[in-house]
Subunit: 188 residues, 2 copies
């Protein structure tokens, strides 16, 4: 047993989400979050670069899984389908956490600053996918475009999964969304 209560980071994340849901992001101060977590404001900023970042710690994990899944995709697949396989595989990370995802997304959708942060995280994902495609031998602008398509499919499918009532899996919705994208770009 350490000197301090364990999992300071997780306690801060939990307190932040709870307070953002109770009073809204803008109305919550970092001091309040820290207090609920039994820490000080200064410690909050040792774990998170800013007040928004506390909602986005999962972004790194998602990126790792995406890149790893893209590495595992058979090299016979066209870039767009390799990316499709990667986002579908990464969907696994969320299937059992729809409830948490919904709560978190509800907070984000209420605040413009949080939407900015979410978008930049998605842009970072696209950039990482692009790099991975380069390593696969895909040149630009194809790599860049395929990566962007993948992230767009991910985002739109995720949004539909969050809002739907029935029980299609995120992976299913992503596959449908990619097929729809292929139809759209084919001019249908």
């Amino acid at each position: 047993m350490g000197r301090w209560k364990p999992d300071a980071r997780a306690r801060l994340e939990k307190a932040a989400l709870a307070l953002y849901r109770e009073h809204g992001f803008a109305q919550t101060t970092v001091a309040e979050i820290a207090e609920r977590a039994g820490l000080t404001e200064r410690t909050f900023f040792r774990y998170f670069a800013d007040k928004r970042e506390v909602l986005f710690s999962g972004a790194g994990t998602l990126q790792q899984h995406l890149i790893s899944a893209l590495g595992d995709a058979p090299s016979s697949l066209a870039p767009i389908d390799a990316v499709g396989a990667a986002v579908e595989a990464a969907a696994e990370l969320f299937e059992k956490r729809r409830d948490f995802a919904r709560k978190r997304q509800a907070v984000i959708s209420e605040n413009a600053e949080l939407q900015e942060r979410e978008r930049i995280k998605l842009a970072s994902l696209a950039s990482a996918l692009e790099d991975a495609l380069h390593r696969r031998g895909v040149a630009n602008p194809a790599a860049s475009l395929a990566a962007e398509m993948g992230v767009t499919v991910f985002r739109i499918a995720f949004e539909r999964w969050i809002n739907q009532d029935d029980n299609r899996t995120l992976a299913q919705i992503m596959r449908e969304c990619l097929n729809e994208l292929k139809l759209v770009t084919a001019g249908k």
Copy 2:
């Protein structure tokens, strides 16, 4: 002649870009911008919601042109091609301002907060395009996907236009980029 020097807004924009270029975005204070423009900090915040927004006043104009151009596109065009025609038409806004665009983009590319703002402006463009496609009778997710593809093409083509040395027009690059996107999604 009014009581005050005219074009306070334009003076603030000019001073801000100059200072962001000279010392960087983070190292520039709003008070410095206001002083160079012959105004006070408080007045800066009457014109711009925050320190970043001063670089994005053109976003509204771009959005209007995009929507208007999409309205003008023949209804025989498939959604993706109507969007393509719109972004190509909107390129006109930039052709004579590559120098300004380069300076501005150099500032943005050096700062993460500004990139966040740029991404959210592009997201707003996509949302406006999606609405316009709905008015054209396009349903979701096709409308949403076509809009996102259009914005992605716009962004990637814009980046290439900024960085290229030769003199292809932005509109040409956008057309090429859209064609490339069609190839990529066709699995080539």
